[in-house]
């Protein structure tokens, strides 16, 4: 027997889907801002001359990059309460995403920092600038510009990875899809739509990030 498609059955759940999309966008926005900030700090620490700091951050990066996101999320949500740290679903989701993106972006941004010509740092030093001033005004901007495409991909991965947060009942898009198909028994239609929504979100996110990158970091890059 042929399966008869019925997308109209999803209409009743529009508010659930909208909530899911909004939550996914919210989770992604917050964890992108905080995660990239963490990555900038991590990259600064990893490239600093303070060895213990570089080692600690290096350990953090390796720990996160070599363990599954789902386990990190479960550890935060189910594990930490044993230490008395109880987080709401969305809090645990944001924390897991920030910690995860922070580690990956530390590595990505560090690559950009390492690509800074030594002469520019010497020029800053010759002008009497301090190390932190050189980092902030001379190194960071061009470094971010160089690695922006790689960072964009990582942020998209984190946005798509936020679907994992449905496993702790963070009510994002995947959670909404799971919820709807458990009610209307229309998994094809629901996941088809969820797939389309993720695709649209990913395309939109890339577009927004490339706009931001062009605004903030493309200065002085020859438009040849």
């Amino acid at each position: 027997m042929a399966y008869s498609f019925d997308f109209s059955s999803l209409l009743d759940y529009t508010p659930v889907l909208v909530d899911g999309v909004v939550t996914t966008i919210g989770l992604t926005a917050v964890s992108t801002v905080l995660g990239v900030a963490l990555g900038i700090g991590g990259a600064a620490a990893r490239t600093s001359t303070v060895k213990p700091l570089a080692v600690v951050v290096g350990a953090y990066v390796e720990l996160i990059r070599n363990t599954p996101f789902l386990v990190q999320l479960f550890f935060i949500f189910f594990g930490l309460p044993s230490l008395g740290i109880r987080l709401a679903e969305w809090q645990a989701a944001v924390l897991a995403m920030v910690v995860n993106l922070g580690a990956y972006s530390t590595e990505i941004i560090r690559a950009g920092i390492d690509a800074t010509p030594k002469g520019q740092i010497e020029a800053g030093a010759s002008l009497g600038m301090t190390g932190p001033q050189i980092f902030r005004y001379v190194v960071l901007g061009p470094a971010m510009g160089k690695i922006w495409p790689a960072l964009t991909s990582q942020i998209v991965i984190v946005m798509l990875g936020s679907s994992v947060c449905s496993q702790i009942a963070a009510e994002e898009l995947s959670f909404a899809a799971n919820f709807i198909q458990s009610r209307n028994f229309r998994p094809f239609e629901v996941y088809f739509l969820a797939t389309a929504l993720y695709l649209a979100l990913a395309v939109a996110l890339r577009w927004v990030l490339s706009l931001i990158g062009g605004r903030m970091f493309a200065k002085g890059v020859s438009r040849a």
Binding site: P117, G119, Q120, E122, A123, G124, A125, S126, L127, G128, M129, T130, Q133, Y137, V138, G141, P142, G145, F217, K219, G220, V221, S222
Partner: protein
């Protein structure tokens, strides 16, 4: 044209017994040198003779292993972490320009005025405009380095250093990365600075320029200064076979 004679006799930079090794290679083997205020000194010598290392030690870009560096009466301690005060007195221009690519010419000049000298916006802007005008690039305030020729970029780099009002300007082979037709515009700026009484220490391969503009020539060989004096004297009557050979080499080019 005769060399510019505007030295005041006040010692501004004093180097005594400077030693520096890179691993097992000793590149500076006890160098003594003094530069008076207003003097224009060129350091010449083969590559590997230690002249760039010596120049870079004057503002602490190279940490020296021994000896004493004094700038404007202040001792530069080799173990000193904070060299910022010194570096505000010693400007530096590099072979590769080293402009900040994400900042316009004007912003390149203004950055250190803003974050190091903490000048307010209006003063910073005025100083940057004046510095760029001085190197003939008043019209290029809003141009990015990628939009400028090599010669223009190097002039912006000079303006960036000058705006900090240094007591002495170090120039490390500042025309070596330039196309031949762009060398003159940069040397023209340096010549003007020399005429205005700026203290300059140059590492250069431009022998004609050194001869015309400098008060004193310092010839380095094997990590030591083995000859120094007025350019005409050194060029016409080199006292050492090393210098004679070096002059022969450059003139044969």
């Amino acid at each position: 044209m005769s060399p510019v004679k505007n030295a005041t006799g006040r010692p501004l930079v004093k180097l005594s017994g400077i030693r520096k090794s890179f691993g097992p290679v000793e590149v500076l083997k006890g160098v003594d040198m003094a530069v008076e205020e207003g003097q224009v000194v060129a350091m010449i010598g083969r590559s590997g003779s230690g002249k760039s290392t010596l120049l870079r030690s004057i503002n602490g870009l190279e940490r020296i292993d021994g000896g004493v560096i004094e700038v404007d009466g202040e001792c530069v301690d080799p173990g000193q972490i904070d060299l910022r005060a010194l570096r505000q007195k010693v400007g530096m221009v590099f072979q590769q320009f080293n402009l900040f690519p994400h900042l316009t010419a004007g912003e390149n000049v203004m950055l250190a005025l803003k974050v190091v000298k903490k000048q307010d916006k209006a003063a910073t802007r005025a100083a940057a405009e004046a510095a760029l005008a001085k190197v003939g690039l008043g019209q290029k305030f809003d141009a990015y380095p990628s939009q400028l020729s090599g010669g223009q970029q190097q002039r912006v780099a000079i303006a960036r250093s000058l705006a900090m009002a240094p007591k002495v300007l170090l120039c490390d082979e500042i025309t070596s990365a330039l196309d031949p037709e762009l060398v003159a515009e940069v040397l023209g700026v340096v010549r003007k600075l020399a005429e205005e009484g700026m203290t300059l220490i140059l590492v250069t391969h431009e022998m004609r320029f050194a001869r015309e503009v400098c008060d004193r020539l310092v010839f380095m060989h094997g990590g030591r200064i083995i000859e120094q004096g007025p350019p005409a004297e050194l060029f016409d009557r080199p006292a050492t076979p090393e210098l004679a050979q070096f002059i022969g080499m450059v003139e044969a080019r």
